[in-house]
């Protein structure tokens, strides 16, 4: 032990997958993929309107990595320091080799998390996961009402989710619930938290919808009002006071309603690495929307090359890529200019400041989006659900609703 006081300096890094701007310093000379997200398939039995998966996911459902390729990716990432493993999708349980992946993850020393809708989770499988050493299961819940659950997921899964929650608890797993918040359930925050408490939840993430992929297409229909978000946050804080440490509640504030952009993914290529179903390696969930980028693939050069050498991972590391107003901004190390995908999706220029920033010359686009969400005509447009059929349309170029967001201001 050194003379260093143990007080505040104790924790060198405290990192949460959901938290933003949490003090993890930008450091382009020492990056480490602490978090590995394995999006093992884009296939999914649900059709959630807020899914962040790419709208053209259908073209990535072919050519999924094999079990052996996943196991190799796990080994390679672990050598580079990866420690938190998320097994996600799509719905990961649509693959029948999750059991093998879990066993390997345990062997390698990962803290592993299965991120699931619950569809496909059986007694037999959960027992195999427990025996294999899976550390926890994160279940998505949508609402306290059957109507809204079934509506927003475009499936009849409400009863199933309650059964799965009980199954997770019975197997001694921590109960981690993820609830994506949008206009249709934001009025039920108190009831959602009460449901979580009744189910014995240890962690609840109230994740306000972020607008990428399908949720961007449906933005005007999903976005709640600022007043609703403030009220939801107030109720959440009250609930937190009441339950204390027994149930940890994360409230992820939507960046559209803040003045400062989020430090997206804790910085491009700093701590997160995503391997997608077909082996593409990404620094963030939606990076594939960015133009003129060639993302590395595990089948070609492997993960170490992807993280350290690939032009894509180096492109937006640090601050060298910035232009005005970011480049001279005193806040630039706090937010690293915000989200590249959001900048591109909304302004057409991936290197511009995230328009969420009040200093961005394109900030009016955010104000307009907020205005549009109050527009009853736009709000009553039909929601476009995440289905293979709709995705095929996007692949085929039927993109009228998306191009509206790609257009330069």
């Amino acid at each position: 032990m050194t003379q260093t006081s143990l007080g505040e300096s104790v924790v060198q890094k405290e990192i949460h997958s959901q938290a933003q701007n949490n003090g993890v310093a930008a450091n382009i000379t020492h990056t480490q993929p602490l978090w590995l997200l394995a999006e093992v398939t884009y296939r999914c039995p649900l059709h959630c309107a807020f899914c962040y998966n790419p709208t053209d996911y259908d073209k990535h459902t072919q050519n999924e990595l094999t079990t052996e390729q996943w196991i190799q990716a796990l080994r390679d990432a672990r050598k580079m320091g990866a420690i938190q493993l998320g097994i996600s999708g799509g719905e990961p349980l649509l693959r029948d080799d999750i059991e093998d992946i879990v066993i390997e993850a345990k062997k390698l020393g990962y803290y592993s998390n299965l991120i699931t809708s619950g569809v496909g989770l059986t007694e037999k499988r959960i027992q195999a996961f427990k025996d294999g050493g899976l550390d926890h299961i994160q279940l998505s819940m949508h609402d306290i009402t059957e109507e809204i659950n079934n509506f927003i997921t475009n499936t009849r899964t409400f009863e199933l989710k309650k059964k799965v929650a009980a199954m997770i608890k019975n197997h001694g797993y921590p109960m981690v619930l993820n609830v994506v918040i949008h206009r249709y359930n934001i009025g039920h925050i108190k009831e959602i938290l009460e449901m979580a408490e009744a189910l014995g939840a240890d962690y609840v993430e109230l994740a306000n919808t972020q607008y990428y992929g399908w949720s961007l297409v449906n933005r005007s229909q999903l976005m709640p009002l600022k007043e609703q978000i403030d009220e939801a946050e107030r109720i959440t804080n009250e609930f937190r006071e009441k339950v204390g440490n027994k149930m940890k509640i994360f409230f992820v504030v939507p960046d559209y309603f803040g003045n400062r952009p989020k430090k997206c993914m804790n910085g491009w290529g700093e701590v997160f690495m995503i391997v997608t179903a077909n082996g593409d390696v990404l620094p963030c969930h939606s990076a594939r929307v960015l133009p003129n980028m060639q993302f590395p693939n595990v089948r070609e050069n492997g993960l170490e090359y992807a993280w350290k050498e690939s032009p894509a991972f180096n492109k937006y590391r640090g601050t060298a890529w910035m232009k005005g107003p970011c480049v001279t901004c005193p806040e630039k190390m706090n937010d690293l200019g915000g989200c590249r995908c959001q900048a591109f999706l909304l302004t057409g220029d991936a290197e511009s400041a995230d328009p969420v920033c009040s200093l961005s010359p394109n900030h009016h686009l955010i104000e307009k989006a907020i205005e549009d969400s109050k527009n009853p005509v736009l709000a009553s447009q039909p929601i476009i659900f995440r289905t293979d059929k709709n995705s095929k349309k996007y692949v085929a170029g039927d993109k009228e609703r998306v191009e509206e967001f790609h257009a330069l201001p």
């Binding site: 006081s5 924790v11 420690i83």
Partner: protein, 93 residues
């Protein structure tokens, strides 16, 4: 939550949390759903001894023996217990 640490208290790593040495980072970490904490050397030495058996005073005595030159070590150790308990990384038995 009451953070007052007594000498006779016995702590264990909290349920669903895992404490381990990370070779790639040359440090101890605590892992839990959706998060991780990287501990510096001193903090790691304290949490390493939290095993559900040793009392706070036994851990203090052990660390004093191991690091005889560190001044005010007891205060630092208790501070670490307070923080870890406050953050619910450890639980009182």
């Amino acid at each position: 939550m009451e953070n007052n640490i007594q000498n006779s208290d016995v702590f264990a790593i909290a349920l669903h949390h895992r404490f381990q040495w990370e070779e790639a980072q040359q440090s101890y970490v605590i892992l839990f759903p959706e998060g991780m904490v990287k501990l510096n050397g001193g903090a790691g030495e304290v949490i390493k001894r939290v095993d559900g058996k040793a009392s706070v005073s036994e851990i203090v005595a052990d660390l004093k023996r191991t690091f005889p030159d560190v001044e005010n070590i007891e205060k630092d150790i208790i501070g670490m217990f307070e923080m870890a308990y406050g953050k619910a990384w450890i639980r009182k038995l």
